[in-house]
């Protein structure tokens, strides 16, 4: 009988595969993980505390820094919460502009995940392709908002600027280009036996676990739950578009990969329709005074990582009394100890990467 001894191993907080500052203390028995203890909070900036002294418009740039891979959806959730409280109706053009930039952001975010996840598990070139396409989107968003990563583009009652001339045409041109590249990804990666063997059956959990752990986004849909807030609690103008919600059944890393790649396609579908329907008119109808009535609200929307929510308790003032973000990465990461328990040490990065976390969002 061989006697084995458990060993403590510290991963992070500075580790490339954690995509930020994230630390896991793991106990390993040989190659098998016995216990994993995630440590977060290294990037906690106290956004919610800061927001209590800021006017609503001033909070928007802070939301850019939470999920910095898809800042547009963060911009949207705070604006949407305030607009819901104040009962504001947006001009058509503003809604379309918002949807277009959000869907572009969703594609960019999934591209980053696609590139870095494959990089994590040892494939170099998909990363370069993914970032090449992402650069096109970043340039488009830069053109409309003036920022490449932190856009600060949305305002309560609309958006900051109208689309520059010819911008919509550029988006229109981008759609077939992206479709072509996407089929290239499928040829290069999705059918690659090394990759599929590497991720199939890794980090599996059931539908019940996913629901109990409050997972959302692709992490939930990969277990067969057809749940997308764009469809099920329609906000903005998402009820006008015809698109599917990609669902997988296995609940493993491979299913999550399939879900996210499917979402890029669906986002392209939405973009295509939005560009066709793009109306004339005002790009914003901003209220002169932004003072939501006394009370509280909670709204949630679908971000690339899942369900992002915003709770505001208002005292009828310019500043929120209490602001709370329901950050999907924070909720999604909770399941990690369960997934790592009993897993092979070499799968640590494959499991962590498949959850698709952004540490700026985890730590608020």
């Amino acid at each position: 009988m061989i006697r084995t001894e458990e060993m403590l191993l510290n991963v992070g907080p500075q580790h490339p595969s954690t995509h930020g500052v994230f630390r896991i203390v793991i106990k390993i028995d040989g190659e098998t993980i016995v216990e994993a203890k995630p440590v977060v909070g290294y990037l906690h900036r106290g956004t919610e505390k800061l927001a209590e002294d800021l006017e609503y418009t001033q909070i928007i740039p802070y939301t850019d820094r939470m999920d910095y891979l898809s800042a547009m959806t963060n911009n949207y959730v705070i604006c949407h919460a305030v607009e819901t409280m104040m009962g504001l109706a947006l001009p058509e053009r503003a809604e379309y502009l918002r949807v277009i930039v959000m869907e572009l952001g969703r594609i960019a975010s999934h591209l980053v995940w696609f590139g870095t996840y494959l990089l994590d598990i040892g494939a170099m070139s998909p990363f370069l392709y993914a970032f090449r396409e992402r650069e096109v989107i970043i340039n488009l968003l830069n053109e409309i908002s003036g920022g490449r990563l932190t856009f600060n583009y949305m305002r309560i009652g609309g958006v900051k600027w109208d689309a520059p001339e010819g911008w919509i045409d550029k988006v229109r041109e981008f759609i077939p280009y992206m479709r072509e590249q996407l089929s290239g990804y499928h040829d290069l990666v999705s059918g690659n036996e090394i990759f599929t063997t590497r991720v199939k059956g890794v980090g599996t959990y059931t539908k019940e676990d996913a629901l109990s752990y409050s997972l959302s986004g692709a992490n939930l849909r990969c277990t067969g739950v057809k749940w997308d807030l764009r469809k099920d609690e329609p906000y903005s103008i998402y009820d006008r578009f015809d698109f599917d919600v990609p669902v997988q059944q296995k609940g493993d890393a491979w299913s999550r990969y399939r879900c996210r790649m499917g979402e890029i396609e669906e986002s392209l579908k939405i973009l295509e329709q939005a560009v066709e329907q793009f109306p004339e008119g005002d790009f914003a109808k901003r209220p002169r005074v932004i003072k939501p009535p006394k009370g509280e609200t909670y709204v949630r929307i679908e971000s690339p990582r899942g369900e992002i929510g915003c709770y505001i308790a208002s005292e009828g003032k310019k500043e929120p009394y209490r602001l709370k973000f329901r950050r999907p990465s924070f909720y999604n990461l909770q399941i990690l100890p369960q997934l790592l328990k009993g897993a092979n040490m070499a799968n640590l990065v494959a499991i962590l990467g498949a959850i698709d976390i952004v540490l700026g969002e985890v730590d608020g």
Binding site: V40, G41, H44, G46, E48, K49, T84, M85, G87, D209, L211, S212, Y213, S214, L215, V225, W227, D232, E233, R288, P292, P293, G295, E296, T297, Y298, V299, R300, E307, G309, Y311, A313, Y321, R322, K324, R326, F330, Y331, L333, Q334, D363, G364
Partner: protein, 439 residues
């Protein structure tokens, strides 16, 4: 003060050359006037009458002396001799005057107003000193200790008393704050009001004084400023009238006015609409269903309140009592009819009067949302953990504990998650004060 005296002496020298009798009478008159003013001032102040009297006496004595000197000088005869003697006399006179001034606190001055003010101030200082002295003595009766030591003791005692008083006040303030008593707020308010009144009174006094000072220039400036303001107003009005046809400014104003009117109309309309739509809400049947089912299984008394939160997309909101919170949550989770299997969010809010935990649930089976709230004691925030029902409540509850200090009973690992483990305080509490070792 010295410069003034020199001036006075110069003028005196001139008068000396011209004729003594004239000078003497003139000086006499000037002094007389000064004395009167001084006396009037003292009387008006009604303070330090005694010392004022002594000052007046001093002056009278001085005048007498001077007169005698003058007589002597006159008897000595005229010429170089007498000139020298008068010069010497003057020097002596200056010295005497200085002393006298010191004693009588500027009894005679060339600029009555300024000097009077100063002497009055000094008078007051003396008065205060005297009173203190008296108080000290009266308080020290029977004590044989030296005055200085006693004074020190006294000072110490007073300082201690002050410190105690401060502490007491702080304590009171803290208690009042903690209890969230409105009374304290009222107190503070009334205090603030008193302060405001005090300031107003002071301002009024200052104004009065200024007016009494008879500063013509000041009032002139004021009237001139008023004139200017009037002028500007008139011009504006003119511009408004003239610009009716197409002035840029008036257009803007018109626009603003129109917008304001619009906003008002809109607000009124919105209000009216709100009042109208107060009745039907698409989620009202849902809320009724929840309340009915909960009431049927757990009893009518478990809910504190239930309403439709119109600000949050009409989400049915249930407010549980602290004792029934977990029971209701468990029921919402496991009841087959309701089946709220998804926890969307859980967090706390510090409302200063109480702490609130907000839970947003969703039923994927029925595609229906519900918000569950519970109000708990702010000083001892404690409530059951929901981790046994939804594993996803783990980290958010830790976050609430970390940032607000809410303790969740039955939580498997209730430790800080965002802040460092050795952090002091809970930053999102409204009474949070950053703790710094060096301060």
């Amino acid at each position: 003060m010295l410069a003034n005296e020199h001036d006075q002496d110069k003028s005196k020298a001139v008068t000396n050359d011209e004729g003594r009798s004239g000078k003497a009478s003139a000086e006499e008159r000037v002094r007389e006037i000064k004395r009167k003013k001084e006396l009037a001032k003292k009387e008006a102040e009604g303070e330090g009458k005694q010392s004022a009297r002594s000052a007046a006496e001093e002056r009278v004595r001085k005048i007498k002396e001077q007169k005698e000197k003058e007589k002597e000088a006159a008897s000595e005869g005229e010429g170089g001799n007498s000139a020298r003697s008068t010069a010497e006399e003057r020097v002596r006179e200056i010295k005497r005057k200085k002393e006298a001034a010191k004693r009588a606190s500027d009894g005679d001055s060339s600029e009555p107003e300024r000097k009077a003010a100063r002497s009055a101030a000094e008078e007051r200082v003396r008065e205060i000193k005297r009173r203190k002295e008296q108080a000290k003595q009266s308080g020290k009766e029977g004590e044989a200790e030296p005055e200085k030591a006693a004074g020190e003791d006294d000072a110490k005692a007073r300082a201690e008393a002050r410190v105690k008083e401060l502490k007491r006040k702080k304590e009171e303030a803290r208690k009042a704050k903690e209890n969230g008593e409105k009374a304290s707020a009222d107190d503070a308010k009334s205090g603030a009001e008193a302060r405001v009144r005090e300031i107003k009174r002071k301002k009024a006094e200052a104004k009065k004084k200024a007016a009494e000072g008879g500063r013509d220039s000041g009032s002139e400036a004021k009237s001139a400023a008023q004139e200017r303001v009037r002028e500007i107003k008139r011009r504006k009005a003119e511009a408004k009238e003239a610009g009716g046809s197409g002035g840029e400014k008036s257009e803007k104003e018109k626009k603003i006015a129109a917008m304001k009117a619009k906003a008002r109309a809109k607000a009124a309309k919105a209000k009216a609409e709100k009042e109208e739509e107060q009745e039907p809400s698409p989620n009202q049947p849902l809320l009724d269903k929840y309340v009915k089912v909960i009431g049927g299984h757990l009893g009518e008394e478990v809910l504190e309140e239930s309403y439709i939160n119109r600000l949050a997309k009409d989400v049915p909101t249930l407010v549980a009592k602290p004792g029934t919170y977990y029971k209701i949550a468990e029921f919402l989770r496991h009841n087959e009819q309701l089946a709220f299997d998804y926890l969307s969010d859980i967090h706390g809010v510090d409302y200063e009067t109480h702490m609130e935990v907000y839970v947003h649930l969703y039923s994927l089976q029925n595609r229906q949302p519900v918000a569950l709230k519970v109000k708990i004691n702010r000083n001892e925030p404690e409530i059951e953990s929901l981790v046994p029902l939804w594993k996803g409540a783990d980290w958010p509850e830790r976050e609430s504990y970390d940032l607000l200090g809410i303790r969740f009973k039955g939580h498997p690992n209730l430790t800080r998650i965002m802040m460092p483990d050795d952090w002091v305080g809970h930053p999102l509490r409204k009474d949070y004060e950053p703790y710094d070792v060096e301060v």
